[in-house]
Symmetry: C2
Subunit: 350 residues, 2 copies
Amino acid sequence: MSAMTRRVVLARFCDGPPVAEDFRIEEAPMPEPRDGQFLVRNILISVDPGTRARLSGKPSYIPPLKLGATVGAFSIGEIIDSRHPDFAPGEIVSLADGWAEHVIGDPRGFVRRITDRRLPLAAWLGVLGVSGMTAWFGLHRVANLQAGETVVVTSAAGAVGSAAGQLARIHGCKVIGVAGGPAKCDWLTGPARLDAAIDYKATGDLPAAIAAAAPEGVDVLFDNVGNAMIDRIIPLMRQNGRIVVSGQVDAYNTSDELAVEGIRNTRAFITHRLMMQGLVVFDDLPDWGAAEATMANHMVDGSLMGRWEVLPGGLEATPEAFAGLFRGENTGRRLVRLAPDPDDFPKDPS
Amino acid sequence: MSAMTRRVVLARFCDGPPVAEDFRIEEAPMPEPRDGQFLVRNILISVDPGTRARLSGKPSYIPPLKLGATVGAFSIGEIIDSRHPDFAPGEIVSLADGWAEHVIGDPRGFVRRITDRRLPLAAWLGVLGVSGMTAWFGLHRVANLQAGETVVVTSAAGAVGSAAGQLARIHGCKVIGVAGGPAKCDWLTGPARLDAAIDYKATGDLPAAIAAAAPEGVDVLFDNVGNAMIDRIIPLMRQNGRIVVSGQVDAYNTSDELAVEGIRNTRAFITHRLMMQGLVVFDDLPDWGAAEATMANHMVDGSLMGRWEVLPGGLEATPEAFAGLFRGENTGRRLVRLAPDPDDFPKDPS
């Protein structure tokens, strides 16, 4: 093929909150699948705060992205050419190959086939993608959530948090969401039907506000924010409480890990037998199918509301869409549309 | 009875490291057992750093001790009067009723009968008491230790740490002990037969020293020190590493929990799937019997060395023996002798 395609690459290392100028759009020859691979035309791509950790050029636990490399992201697209016997052109797949109009799919890496056509395609990058899976396995594997427990979710209107709060509610728990601003809180106690929402920006004393909403104490803290948030909530935790370290929005913006505040209230780990554990949801990949199916049913029956937005503008809009995450502009998971959905999926309401 | 007995009470709240003047010896009438109780004449009592947390008079997770109250401690003694059908005078028991010459035993509370006469009585307050049980259940329940793993134990020559390091070695693990001073380190690589010992006082760069001893990384950190120590070792931990929060020597001396340094390296909880959990060993009481029996066998066959010291001087010596803990003067678990051992136990070598 002599056709060309485009992708977004890292133009310079980020220092602090990312800006659109940290990235550059590049033309490249259309990639060609080898045996066992296929070519995918992306329809929707995600912009994720977690990507920030790889953009500073500094060695970290995650290998840093090199200058000129395609920025990593999840996407959903249509197979347009295949050299894999089990994947045919026209099939819809979700992959993790970056901000690009075309990517190579390889089932030896991360590829999810999307066959359930009851929900808009975006749902499979939003609630039914990594965000929702992180919520599911954080609650069910890491925290071993039990019906009747009290759960606090931070960044509760975010991509992961919005799924976690609702899944905990569906499991029969009392759920308190912590989020910033009245619009997010209205969503939490409205469509998401959580028991309480606390606007941390409007609340002088966050622990007191949580204690008022949950005088019985907190069994599970599902945290997406970071150390300072965890430290403030630990004194509210009950015996045998579990802290799920799901994400660290607070830390993604700093290249110096040690600049973040630490968790000091650790004596409660002994006195209250607390457990804190992090997760990377790909460890649970063998179990995704069952979780996806259950959660898709919850979405179809209306008990689980998606919280995502699809921005127009194609690949060009991606850097700015990403930068906006760090100004708190997103409503749940943020996606960018590169091409129209196939006709046999329901229309995306967003 | 008109006989009198003596006990050590809190004379004033501690602020910083405890001193002998914080305590006072009081005479009191001999306590009388009610139905279902028995009277014990203490033979050995323990002085434990963990007691410090209750001596500041400030509300904490643990209820503070009141002025004039008997200071809590473990002890071993002989039943001298009984109103319980299953406990007879002459039996030896371990209890948790404080620094006193005589205490009331009540099996509805903490009472362990000591019948195994293969080991000196002190062993049942040292390795086979709460310290050793904390080591056992921290390693086996909390960390789910696997043979072949690499374990770092901090405060490794202390009461809990000395048991934890050896138990991990017996389980087939590579063990690195961190302790202060050459004498402790010599004990760790000598009688305790750990793979390596690091003198944190003589080592400028503790993480580098651990990394040199364990280039493969650390699977389990059994920590008795506190946040700053945990924070320094986290970057060395392997995927799926576990941190056992066993004790917090660093924090016992400060009445302000928030004055202690925090754990900042929490991003590794996500990237490396770390798990951190604390324990209170009384939760495992139903399983103590099997652990005690196994560990007693290890002691009899010489694979598990006790590390305790028995100070003479009776009850009067107790406050100063306790204060000395915070100057690092103890060698393993510190006990104070109030009366001679019964003749049918082996002589204590210490």
